[in-house]
């Protein structure tokens, strides 16, 4: 029954991919004339760095492959290790690789944020919970039938192969403009009426977009974070009877302190 369901799923997925793939491969989201319309941030044509994402530089390629290997290796470490601490450490390695890849995409601010928030804050949270749990898994991978493994593996290999072939052919909508991908964006300067060029992906450029068009989303996320903090505390709090039990010992020293104060 499970195998039949799996086969059916794979067939439906393959059919969907076959139907969608040709359109995706030739997808050109905006026609050539639309490129000339100025986007939200006014982009300068001149680029002091040259174009960096489409680079024929050997050193850039070496760095890319090294950090891509770190990213994927760390991710594989996460899903294969039985020891939870090892998995978390693999995750940190993966995040460092991702951060470097962001830097290659000229997202310097996001790169730093990735390092601070993910490798710093979230991973520390994970380590805390791992220490609380402190139980190695008996059997890391759920057992399934051999046929399921074979079919699932073949389907994954086929789908990933198709995906890679498709993604490798992704081209900028208009190669003539995209090869000079913007190294700097022009924003209003500190003095009213002046314009200022800041680096692509810098704090100022991202902040101008975040607090301009993205202001509502920013405020919504701040409320979401507040709700998440309150919810996390409410969920992780001990149950009601535990709470009463835990409250008892705290009452006693307070009474003692009060009587001690009177005496």
């Amino acid at each position: 029954m499970r195998v039949l369901l799996l086969i059916l799923t794979v067939l439906v997925t393959l059919g969907a991919i076959e139907a969608i793939a040709p359109q995706l491969a030739v997808a050109d989201p905006i026609p050539a004339q639309a490129v000339n319309q100025t986007p939200r941030t006014n982009i300068t044509k001149r680029s002091p760095h040259g174009d960096k994402v489409e680079s024929k530089d050997m050193g850039m390629a070496l760095l890319f492959w090294a950090f891509a290997a770190a990213t994927l290796g760390g991710a594989l470490f996460v899903i294969t290790r039985r020891n939870l601490i090892a998995a978390v450490m693999g995750m940190v390695g993966s995040f460092l690789g991702i951060s470097a890849v962001y830097m290659m995409l000229y997202a310097s601010f996001l790169s730093v944020i990735q390092m601070l928030v993910y490798a710093g804050a979230i991973m520390v949270l994970f380590v805390f919970v791992v220490m609380i749990l402190n139980r190695p898994e008996d059997e890391p991978v759920a057992p399934t039938g051999r046929a399921g493994h074979v079919i699932g593996g073949l389907a994954i290999v086929y789908l990933v192969g198709r995906l890679i072939l498709m993604l490798m052919q992704v081209q900028p909508p208009n190669p003539a403009t995209a090869v000079q991908a913007p190294a700097q964006v022009t924003l209003p300067g500190d003095v009213v009426g002046t314009m200022e060029k800041v680096d692509w992906g810098s704090v100022k450029a991202v902040g101008w977009d975040l607090f301009g068009p993205g202001l509502f989303v920013f405020e919504a996320v701040s409320i979401l974070l507040l709700i998440a903090v309150v919810g996390a505390i409410a969920i992780a709090r001990p149950l009601h009877e535990d709470q009463n039990n835990a409250g008892e010992p705290r009452q006693i020293p307070r009474d003692e302190a009060a009587t001690g104060g009177h005496a």
Binding site: P39, R40, T41, V53, E54, K56, F64, T71, L72, I79, L84, A87, V88, S94, I98, V101, L105, A107, F109, L110, I113, Q114, V117, Y118, I122, F126, V129, I132, L133, E137, P140, V141, A142, I156, V160, L163, L167, M168, V170, P172, P173, A178, A181, P182, A205, V206, D209, P213, G214, V217, L224, L225, I227, A228, V229, A232, I233, I235, A236, L239
Partner: protein
């Protein structure tokens, strides 16, 4: 072939993000520890972020960076709530094996 190795373009970043997402998906599907599943979800969110930044660079539109920042904030909130649920489940059952959480199945 060597051209593909040396000439790193947008497609390479997209393929890297797709493989990262795939690893995250496989982790969610095959692992039974709730913590590892949460970490795999984080990997998938990072893959989506990398795709956002690649297309942001490709289109020359900075709003992809804003969106990635929002995704990071949402991922932090998700990790906090998810870990709180894991702790609550562990407190009641002394394990976090998702295959054994069958109370709601019937």
């Amino acid at each position: 072939m060597s051209d593909l190795l040396i000439n790193v373009g947008y497609g390479h970043f997209l393929v890297l993000a797709a493989l990262l997402f795939l690893i995250g998906t496989v982790g969610v599907l095959i692992r039974r520890n709730a913590l590892i599943i949460l970490m795999s979800v984080e990997l998938m969110l990072n893959a989506a972020n990398m795709t956002l930044l690649t297309f942001s660079r490709m289109w020359g539109d900075l709003s992809g960076h804003t969106f990635a920042l929002i995704v990071i904030a949402v991922a932090a909130a998700e990790a906090a709530v998810g870990l709180a649920i894991v702790v609550a489940v562990f407190r009641g059952r002394r394990n976090v094996d998702v295959d054994r959480l069958t109370t709601l199945r019937h």
